[in-house]
């Protein structure tokens, strides 16, 4: 049988008891309350009820602790690797789309063919698919300056993201390594990032290393034209792009 708090103690007393079991009372206040508890049965009874309630609260909350955390939630928080690893499983999941991607790749300009030079072969997989670049475009946000380093040592700056008329997401990027640099646009089709256009990009030592140059500047005119012709909407803001990366661009 419970005790009527209002008849036997004040709200302040109850608040003190509550803070007492939480260990939040100043030592002198706690000492005074302890003395009162020794001579006031109603106070003691209320404290006992609060302690029972406390253990029930913890028991109720812990009832689900034996169930493993859903893997999908843990996976969301897995630390991102500092070096980007290829998502080969994505490529093998979509063999049909990969073939389609290769067909598109075959139609690239002669300039783009230069990008597939043997010196970067380490980052390429099946018939020239740049799996390291694809993995990086899948997972890294755009940045105005600085670089992300791929596993083979090349450096990437994803510049911006936009939707195209076919309903795919596309990303402009700058990729540099082994003494040369390219600026390109890749689009995501069937889970694969395929370069649609790429042109040599002249880095200005000491300047371009960290500066963002828009696609319309200098040697990037063809990239700007490509974006103008293919973009079906505005460039994504950082927040929306981050959301798409989290959801694997879905």
């Amino acid at each position: 049988m419970g005790i009527d708090v209002e008849e036997t103690m004040t709200d302040r007393d109850f608040e003190l008891l509550s803070a007492y079991i939480d260990g939040e009372l100043e030592p002198e206040v706690a000492a005074t309350l302890t003395s009162r508890l020794a001579r006031e049965p109603a106070l003691r009874a209320r404290l006992a009820e609060l302690e029972t309630l406390q253990s029930q609260l913890r028991e109720a909350a812990g009832a689900n602790d034996t169930t493993p955390l859903p893997a999908r939630i843990r996976e969301l928080l897995q630390p991102q690797p500092t070096a980007i690893r290829p998502l080969l499983h994505r490529l093998t999941l979509f063999p049909g789309n990969l073939r389609q991607g290769l067909a598109i790749a075959a139609s690239l300009t002669a300039v783009a063919a230069l990008l597939l030079a043997p010196r970067w072969q380490a980052g390429h997989d099946i018939a020239g698919q740049d799996v390291l670049l694809a993995a990086a475009l899948e997972t890294l946000p755009s940045r105005a300056s600085g670089w992300d380093t791929l596993e083979d040592g090349r450096r990437l700056r994803a510049v911006l993201s936009f939707p195209n008329h076919a309903g795919s997401w596309c990303r402009e990027y700058v990729l540099t390594g082994a003494g040369s640099s390219v600026r390109g646009v890749a689009c995501r089709d069937g889970g694969n990032w395929t370069t649609r256009i790429a042109v040599p990009h002249n880095l200005l030592p000491g300047r371009d290393e960290e500066a963002y140059r828009p696609a319309s500047a200098g040697d990037s005119g063809s990239i700007a034209s490509f974006i103008d012709q293919n973009a079906a909407g505005d460039v994504l803001g950082a927040k929306k792009e981050a959301g798409l990366i989290t959801r694997s661009w879905q």
């Binding site: 939480d22 009820e49 909350a61 602790d65 939630i73 927040k239």
Partner: protein, 167 residues
């Protein structure tokens, strides 16, 4: 705002169990708790976190806001009054353990009837073991407010506890 650093991700991974318990206390069911936890993690990943933020406190704040948003949008609390009405047809066969189970269910239901701000404060302190100062930091209110909210929450739960279904 920057995305999560690896140390922040690791801290959150280590805290997921406690966060889930917090979600369980707030939502009142295991499945809703996992949904709330996932929503929390997704929000954190989407919006990022300042480099100097306390990842754990930040996560509790995001979780609290996600839960309040959920309460507002779905009017979750309206579901709980039905749970409070004990169905006398559901008398378990093993009376003692069933009585204990019923008490916990009644407690969960009573928690669901508390005003959100009281429930948040009580859960952080009584279940998660946060200090009043930590809870005040997470909920962005003075320590004195935490103290009074928790006391009011406990008083309300004890009143419910005196109801017949709790015995």
């Amino acid at each position: 705002m920057p995305s999560l650093s690896t140390p922040q991700r690791e801290l959150l991974l280590a805290e997921l169990g406690s966060l889930r318990r917090f979600c369980q206390s707030l939502s009142g069911s295991a499945s809703d708790a996992d949904d709330l936890l996932q929503m929390t993690v997704e929000r954190i990943l989407e919006k990022g976190m300042p480099a100097d933020a306390d990842a754990v406190k930040w996560a509790y704040r995001v979780c609290k806001n996600a839960w309040i948003d959920e309460l507002r949008s779905r009017e979750v609390r309206q579901r709980y009054p039905q749970q409070m009405a004990w169905d006398s047809d559901e008398v378990p066969s093993a009376e003692e353990s069933a009585g204990q189970e019923r008490a916990l269910e009644a407690l969960t239901a009573a928690l669901g009837k508390l005003p959100p701000e009281q429930r948040l404060a009580l859960t952080l302190v009584a279940v998660e073991g946060k200090s009043y100062a930590e809870a005040a930091d997470i909920l962005e209110v003075p320590v004195g407010t935490i103290m009074s909210r928790i006391a009011r929450a406990r008083a309300q739960l004890l009143k419910c506890r005196e109801a017949p279904e709790w015995e």
